[in-house]
């Protein structure tokens, strides 16, 4: 059995990023699209931590903290927008919200 290297973490992070991307691009439910964005941000964090350990300093972990801060702000504002949207349009399906299209 091979020992776990940085590349293993990078591959896992890439797979998680792709899962999140597919979720954002294919789902219609906005709540699940927001969850997929959380998956993408976690993939980024995994990458940062793996490189932080490979390089041997903690700057990557600091950046991961900032990414988590962003994720919190994004989730709060996104869910607020979702509630406002549901109040006005009575739907949570992303492709039914097309007022800007013609």
């Amino acid at each position: 059995m091979h020992p776990i290297t940085t590349v293993h973490y990078l591959a896992l992070s890439a797979a998680l990023l792709l899962i999140g991307t597919v979720g954002v691009l294919t789902r219609r439910n906005i709540v699940i699209i927001l969850m997929s964005i959380e998956l993408i941000l976690n993939a980024v964090n995994l990458n940062l931590i793996a490189f932080s350990r490979a390089v041997g300093n903690v700057n990557g972990q600091i950046f991961a903290i900032f990414v988590i801060t962003d994720a919190v702000a994004e989730a709060a504002v996104g869910l607020g927008i979702l509630i406002a949207l549901f109040r006005n349009k009575e739907t949570v399906l992303a492709d039914e919200i097309d007022i800007l299209k013609w």
């Binding site: 776990i4 290297t5 973490y9 990078l10 792709l18 709540v31 709060a76 869910l79």
Partner: protein
């Protein structure tokens, strides 16, 4: 070393399995539960890489904070109608092809990239060395003080913004 390998694969299976379930479930509550499993797997991987502070932050903030927020919104918004409809939109095939292209690109670079196939250094810090949290605090409050303050401003804006969005009348 063997324990490390086995633990890594267990956590990786949790992360990927939870992620795939998150984007395929029809019921949003099931998706949220799967996402919690995935986030806990990521937390375990942080611990495996000696990032203890982020392990705690991941559990407290993501699983305890963000996911509870998600569950609250799922409760506030009526999702029954959405669960009965088509779950994937019409461009899913294009999306899958694009994601596969990006995946092929990333794996090409992972296989042919230089020098990162080395074993990650598994140095154990000496007993007297400061812990992970202490080192992080040192760097965060000296070198990254300004970004830290800007992050607090961002959180303030997010709080005000989400209240303005979610409130019926201001």
């Amino acid at each position: 070393m063997l324990t490390d390998t086995v633990t890594f694969y267990i956590f990786a299976a949790l992360v990927l399995g939870g992620g795939i379930l998150t984007i395929t479930r029809r019921n949003a509550v099931h998706s949220a539960i799967s996402l919690i499993v995935s986030l806990l797997g990521v937390a375990g991987l942080y611990l495996l890489q000696q990032a203890e502070f982020l392990f705690a932050v991941q559990i407290v903030l993501y699983v305890g904070g963000i996911m509870v927020l998600f569950l609250f919104v799922i409760m506030l918004v009526n999702l029954d109608m959405a669960a009965r409809e088509r779950q994937f939109n019409r461009q899913w095939l294009v999306a899958l092809i694009a994601a596969a292209a990006v995946g092929a690109e990333i794996s090409y670079f992972l296989y042919h990239g230089e020098n990162f196939s080395v074993v990650a250094p598994a140095v154990l810090p000496p007993a007297a060395a400061p812990g992970n949290t202490e080192i992080l605090a040192d760097v965060l409050f000296s070198q990254y003080l300004l970004p830290f303050e800007i992050a607090s401003l961002l959180l303030l804006v997010a709080v005000v913004g989400s209240v303005v969005m979610a409130k019926k009348r201001i």
